[in-house]
């Protein structure tokens, strides 16, 4: 729970108020990733809370333990997906989608009386997989570090008199305040100790 909810802190009376919202720093892929992260939370909690019902609905009665483990996996992938390190979470989700599809494949067999449910679930997972891949590619593209390495700032010294001529320039007239002085500390005593 955010600290602000616990403390009841609120914005002050006279501070400027938002009158009209403008464009956001969040990109489309960021928003899609966030939605997928919350979807992971929901599905993960459902798989942890009711693995038996899900297993029976899909005709995977002997896979209750596996579905519970998948619930934990969904929650684990939700954490990075909802963080600023979205690509890690989305990559984990894509891997998880593959596991889900592999687990559902045997349930599509004619012998399974719940194969229609399993088919719907497989179609949903396939659709979600496409969204995960789109979000992963989108987020990677939106936040890649383009062109930075090519920049060379070796002409930006910030020292108009040159680096060599500037060394110690401030020493002549900068009065270091007493509470910032380094001399007289153990730093000076160490070299004086017998070796």
């Amino acid at each position: 729970m955010p600290l602000t909810n616990v403390t009841g802190v609120a914005r002050s009376e006279g501070d400027p108020r938002v009158q009209r919202k403008g464009p956001s720093s969040l990109t489309g892929p960021d928003r899609l990733a966030r939605a997928l992260g919350w979807f992971s939370v929901g599905l993960g909690l459902a798989e942890l809370a009711a693995p038996g019902r899900l297993a029976r609905a899909l005709g995977l009665d002997d896979k209750e333990g596996l579905i519970r483990a998948y619930g934990a996996r969904e929650l684990a992938s939700a954490v990075p997906t909802l963080s600023i390190d979205k690509p890690i979470g989305l990559a984990a989700r894509i891997g998880g989608d593959a596991l889900d599809l592999a687990t559902l494949a045997p349930a599509l067999h004619r012998d399974n009386p719940k194969r229609h449910n399993a088919a719907i679930a497989a179609a949903l997972v396939a659709g979600i997989t496409l969204l995960d891949i789109a979000a992963f590619k989108g987020v990677k593209a939106a936040h890649r570090r383009d062109g930075g390495a090519a920049r060379d700032y070796s002409d930006r010294s910030g020292l108009p008199r040159g680096a060599a001529a500037s060394r110690g320039l401030a020493r002549k007239d900068f009065d270091i305040p007493p509470d910032y002085r380094a001399e007289g500390t153990v730093a000076d005593a160490i070299p004086a100790l017998p070796s």
Partner: protein, 378 residues
């Protein structure tokens, strides 16, 4: 007016908001001419700083022109004055302000009870930051209300570009000073160490463009993705380690499997089991010369794990840290800018309209397009 407004994690918007007004006789209103995105704004962008609220206006590096002055501030300010606004709000009268410790002013945090709970004792009010420090609206906007304006401003002369003034915010000769992080704060730190006469200044980062900027000022560079920081620092100091280690990285150190502790810290951070990733702090304590000084200017937020206090204690290290007590240094820095000793505009790589703010937050965070420092103009 227009402003960059925090709406949640990674969600900064260019909104229309109501205009600020004088609320107290010591207030002033300034028309913002330039502002900048700071590295610590990214901690808010990433929602790592507690007690932000949707609707909070960002920004704590601001300058502009005074357009309105409260009755009690008229002795110090008048309409038309050109001012840089420090990120700390100071009363100028309390015990801490009289000692020059402006960033821990005792009177300007208007949410003192909250600050007391969070920090033990509240710190100064800050612009465009968490409600733990007062929740004051920031300066990434067209206008800014400056509380305690008679003492919270730096008057600057005309004739010097905003780019040189916007960032007005102990080293011994012979020292080896190692600076972790070559972002804007690290770059200024490197130049300050050079001007103060450090014999060797060593800059540590992994981004080539930032290392090239550090080298331009005469720093020796270490790319931590290419070589061992500890081995190289020891090699450069006859195996003794740097005298002074400066952390200009802070809470969000680079995460990489080559530095396994950063991966663990990141996982803990995601699970809210730890606030910060203190890899740099651990490395500084390990490599610093016994009896040396660890200085922290990179922002930390809360709880950190696995700090080797045994190493620190047994090596007799001295720790120094603070949010900058800005007004303590601005007079001297302004004089050096006017004197041509330093030109801080070197660090600005992107100068854009305020409306581009939301996308520039992402560019700055992703370090895309060689971005080191963003300057915004309404």
């Amino acid at each position: 007016m227009k402003a960059l407004v925090w709406h949640g994690k990674e969600d900064i918007r260019y909104d229309t908001v109501s205009d600020p007004a004088i609320e107290h006789p010591r207030d002033a209103i300034i028309k913002v001419t330039s502002c900048a995105i700071c590295g610590s704004d990214l901690h808010l962008f990433h929602n790592l700083v507690p007690a932000m609220l949707p609707g909070d206006i960002m920004g704590h590096e601001t300058m502009g022109e005074v357009v309105e002055v409260g009755s009690d501030a008229k002795g110090s300010l008048k309409k038309g004055d050109r001012v840089v606004i420090p990120f700390t709000i100071q009363c100028g009268e309390c015990d801490q302000c009289r000692r020059g410790n402006f960033s821990v002013c005792e009177r300007t945090n208007r949410k003192k009870a909250l600050g007391d709970k969070a920090f033990g004792h509240a710190t100064a009010g800050l612009f465009g930051y968490t409600h733990l420090t007062g929740g004051y609206p920031g300066g990434q906007a067209e206008y800014l209300r400056v509380p305690f304006a008679d003492t919270t401003h730096i008057k600057v002369p005309g004739g010097i570009d905003d780019e040189k003034l916007l960032f007005l915010s102990d080293i011994q000769p012979g020292d080896t000073v190692a600076v972790w992080g070559c972002g804007p704060v690290g770059q200024m730190t490197i130049r300050s160490a050079i001007l103060l006469g450090a014999e060797q200044v060593i800059a540590i980062d992994h981004l080539p463009e930032r290392l090239s900027m550090a080298a331009a000022a005469g720093a020796i560079t270490i790319d931590f993705m290419q070589e061992s920081v500890v081995d190289r620092l020891n090699a450069l100091t006859d195996g003794k380690g740097p005298h002074k280690c400066i952390d200009a990285v802070g809470t969000e150190s680079h995460v990489d499997f080559g530095q396994p502790d950063t991966v663990l810290d990141r996982a803990k951070q995601m699970l809210m089991a730890e606030n910060d990733r203190p890899h740099v702090l651990r490395e500084m304590i390990y490599v610093c010369r016994p009896g040396g000084v660890i200085s922290i200017i990179g922002v930390y937020l809360g709880l950190v794990d696995k700090i080797p206090m045994g190493q620190a204690m047994n090596k007799g290290l001295t720790f120094r840290m603070a949010q900058a007590h800005v007004p303590r240094w601005t007079g001297d820095l302004l004089r050096r800018i006017e004197d041509g000793q330093i030109d801080p505009s070197f660090v600005i790589t992107h100068k854009v309209d305020l409306s581009k703010g939301p996308e520039m937050y992402a560019t700055f965070r992703d370090k895309a397009d060689g971005c080191v420092k963003v300057m915004l103009q309404p």
